[in-house]
Symmetry: C2
Subunit: 284 residues, 2 copies
Amino acid sequence: MTIGIIGLGLIGGSMAIDLKRRGFCERVLGVESDPVSAEAAAKMGLADEIVSFERCVDGSDIVVVAVPVGTASKMVPDILDRFKAAGAADKIVIDVCSTKERIGLETKYHPCRKQFVSTHPMAGTEYSGPWAAMPNLFDGRACIIADAAESSPAALKKIEDLYNVLNMRMLYMDSSAHDLHTAYVSHISHITSFALALTVLDKEKDEKHIFDLASGGFSSTVRLAKSNADMWVPILTQNRENILRVVDTYIRKMNLFRDAIDSFDEDAVRELIGEANRIKKIIR
Amino acid sequence: MTIGIIGLGLIGGSMAIDLKRRGFCERVLGVESDPVSAEAAAKMGLADEIVSFERCVDGSDIVVVAVPVGTASKMVPDILDRFKAAGAADKIVIDVCSTKERIGLETKYHPCRKQFVSTHPMAGTEYSGPWAAMPNLFDGRACIIADAAESSPAALKKIEDLYNVLNMRMLYMDSSAHDLHTAYVSHISHITSFALALTVLDKEKDEKHIFDLASGGFSSTVRLAKSNADMWVPILTQNRENILRVVDTYIRKMNLFRDAIDSFDEDAVRELIGEANRIKKIIR
């Protein structure tokens, strides 16, 4: 089998590594629009060949679209068009994006919708580009399959096989549930980290040594602020309504803390912390 | 030498382990007011003996006060009183608290002020109690010595030796700079984590499976929300003014994000993320 991977960054590149070495495919065709990344990916051997978009779609059995979600939601319908024009009824395209509703809408009435499987492998780091690709990235993590009933059983089965090779555990939900849940347990974390970084960087302008005291706890809460704008701008735009709801709740909670501290209300602070501590039972 | 450690939790217990096994002291006298923790500490052998406050102060060359900062800022002057009453001019007391201004004020005019060294070993985890104590906790981390000129050179030297045995790198600053800096690079992180936990836990009441999708990024930003109220209520109270300033800046930054997302202003979102990304150059 030949896998085409469009976008050889953290996710696409890491998939390329494991799908090849674990024998899921014989050949990987890679597409990378950024010339520097393309050269790096070629040098690292992430793909057997770096090809054009057209050659990739025409020459692959499964096409993986691993580009930011704004581009992906336009690219998947184009690929389905090309499948249709070529009469390639057995080919499959998947995306790997962090928001699912928009891409679901963009493909909903496409005559080849059944050849598309909407997936979100929930793995990653705060780094990006082919340099960030690594083996074993997906092992043991969750992979969401969104709107599975919209894909053909055969396509779905093949993609489940692919994610089984990556050792992912599959979860099934519709795309609107996906986008709501990820707003709470992934997207908001990035915004809180970005805001934290901005807060401290602002202060650093006057206090040069402020980071000398940065603790492990600080690094852990701020590390997502390294995340890439090309990836996150479209996520925040596409999942706008869910995210606004979470951000508003979050700002309300921050204000509860603020006011309790401001009014020296130790009991209220204690109660808020006690309530937050319930997270212990849920997160390791 | 005999070290007295008052409070055998994460910090006190971990100090006890390494100071003893690395040969800095022959004997550790422990004080633990909570009976369950006292029994656990005794069973784990964190101290050679669990004793009363008075026996600990009278029988130790160096007393380490490792209790929450509200209690510590009252306890240190009591210990200095007891040194004075006993004419014990060579004994030393240190605290290990995360806020330094208040304890500095409480001891400022004490006739035995020079026997007190105000320290903040910046190491820890989100866990607490004797169960959280571990070897090597302090290795390679920063330790702040606040208002070093207020301590006698001999006392200071002995405490630098103690922290050298714990492999800490010393930083010197006055207590008000310390409290400002820790508000930015430690205390705010805890509040953002608490608020994040509260936000998601609230939603979990309606959406039972919301944590199924919790990513590594989420765990990393929320882990500090497990932190203990007994420790954090007094920190947030004592460092109130610095913390309110940071929280207000932080809420402003969150609102910038919120408004940029709300008004579909992708350029503004991109700019905010790009600015936040500067954290890359600072935090590993």
